[in-house]
Amino acid sequence: MADTARKSARGVAPLALSVKGIHKSFGQHQVLKGISLDAHEGDVISILGSSGSGKSTFLRCINLLETPDDGDITVAGEQVKLRRTGDGHLQPSDRKQVDRIRSELAMVFQSFNLWSHRTILENLIEAPVHVQKRPRAECILEAEALLEKVGIADKRNHYPAHLSGGQQQRAAIARALAMKPKAMLFDEPTSALDPELVGEVLKVMRTLAEEGRTMLVVTHEMGFARDVSSRVMFLHQGKVDAEGTPQEMFGDGGSERFRQFISNTIR
């Protein structure tokens, strides 16, 4: 499968996302100790690490669902404005900018997080219509095409609770796509799914990668990291322990700790 792996677009395509020196603590516990990442357009970066290594927190810092204690975030050339408060913590200084940047970085959650009181189609058009203020009719057409693409066109008028986990996650991916994001953040998208439903979600993500979408994927799916991503980043105790192309990482390039990690993961 290694021949299907995409070549890194680094150095060719413009930067979609640049994050520098992210630090984050919860109370006394330092979760992130200075993590940096550059994602060029078309990059698919898998972020691996054992639980508690800070990978989800790192992803959530990028769209400011968590506010980093220190660091810089630049999305498509626009730096997120952060200011330091009296107690030394960072805070976004421009609410509108945060909202706009979040709408440019679509997020897919571990537990899908679809809005339970809205149908699948309504979930898809919610942000395009109300955040991006695009014409409703146009959004509906696009949403229908997206549902077709992820293979749940027949569920457009169903409510989330009426769908299986795999279908809900595919709907959530379609909802993220509906915002025409510059980059997509996936926070363990298959971790809450029954094993037999993981494949249908990974298949959709693989299609997106092949389309050249910029994706940051926190995952435990070693197959996806190895075969689909252009770069792999391994976090350990809040630091980047090893980083490289899948060939390097799954070849002899990864660190000793990473080899130990994958030998524990793949049984």
């Binding site: 909202d99 970085l105 809005w115």
Partner: protein
């Protein structure tokens, strides 16, 4: 043998007072509802300066009898010269206004707690998903938080407004001639408590039956996502079953 002519006559007199009862009800839950929104907002605020007074309000108005609250408004306010000399006095001296005020202040306390219950039960993950899409502030409240909270609060709120419909009867004690007040006046003239009170009770029963149907229908309309998935067979052959009457517990 019931005295039908007397009952018809009494029913006619009581029904003539029905608009007053309905006005008391609609005005008090409207005013109380708006007030409740502000109290809820203050109650869930992280600032003690807002949340403590809201807690105090809810404690007082849920913890003391509605009748005493109404008496305090009706008999108590007039004792203060400030109130008597204020521009509000021509309005505040009216028994009807005092009754609405008493009812509204009381229901606001209960409704605030019902709304708070609906709000804190909104799944944090769904709010987070909205934030991640670029929603914040009023847009987030209007499109995601409020619709979910209201759906969750509706069963408890329908009970509250049924209680309020019955509580309008207390207005008769501050000389408002609503259904119960008129009933008591007829009894004082005829001494036929049984017939007259049964007529009055029947009116409240019908009013609350309509309320139950309305709130039940609204709940049914708002919560298609909580009902069983429509199978292709049943959806194609027959309409969905109507809501169960008086079903306070949804699902």
């Amino acid at each position: 043998m019931p005295d039908f002519p007397f009952i018809f006559d009494t029913m006619g007199k009581l029904l003539a007072a029905l608009p007053t009862t309905l006005e008391l009800f609609i005005l008090s839950i409207s005013v109380g509802g708006v007030l409740a929104c502000f109290i809820t907002w203050a109650r869930i605020s992280p600032y003690k300066l807002l949340s403590l007074p809201a807690r105090g309000y809810i404690f007082v108005f849920r913890g003391s009898p509605l009748l005493i609250q109404m008496f305090l408004v009706y008999y108590g306010l007039g004792q203060f010269a400030v109130v008597r000399h204020s521009i509000f006095w021509p309005v505040l001296r009216e028994p009807f206004v005092c009754a609405v005020l008493g009812l509204a202040l009381c229901t606001a306390g209960y409704t605030a707690e019902i709304l708070r219950g609906g709000l804190i039960a909104v799944p944090a993950q769904q709010i987070e998903a909205a934030r991640a899409c670029g929603m914040s502030g009023l847009l987030l409240l209007r499109r995601v938080i409020a619709p979910i909270a209201i759906r969750q609060a509706l069963p408890a709120y329908s009970t509250e407004i049924i209680l309020m419909m019955k509580s309008t009867a207390l207005a008769s004690l501050v000389t408002v001639w609503e259904v119960t007040g008129v009933a008591q006046r007829i009894i004082s003239q005829t001494y036929r408590a049984m017939d007259v009170f049964l007529c009055a009770a029947a009116i409240y029963l019908v009013l609350n039956f309509v309320l139950v149907k309305l709130t039940g229908g609204l709940e049914y309309y708002l919560t298609p996502h909580l009902r069983a998935r429509p199978t292709s067979l049943s959806a194609g052959l027959r309409p969905l079953p109507p809501p169960a009457a008086g079903d306070a517990s949804h699902g």
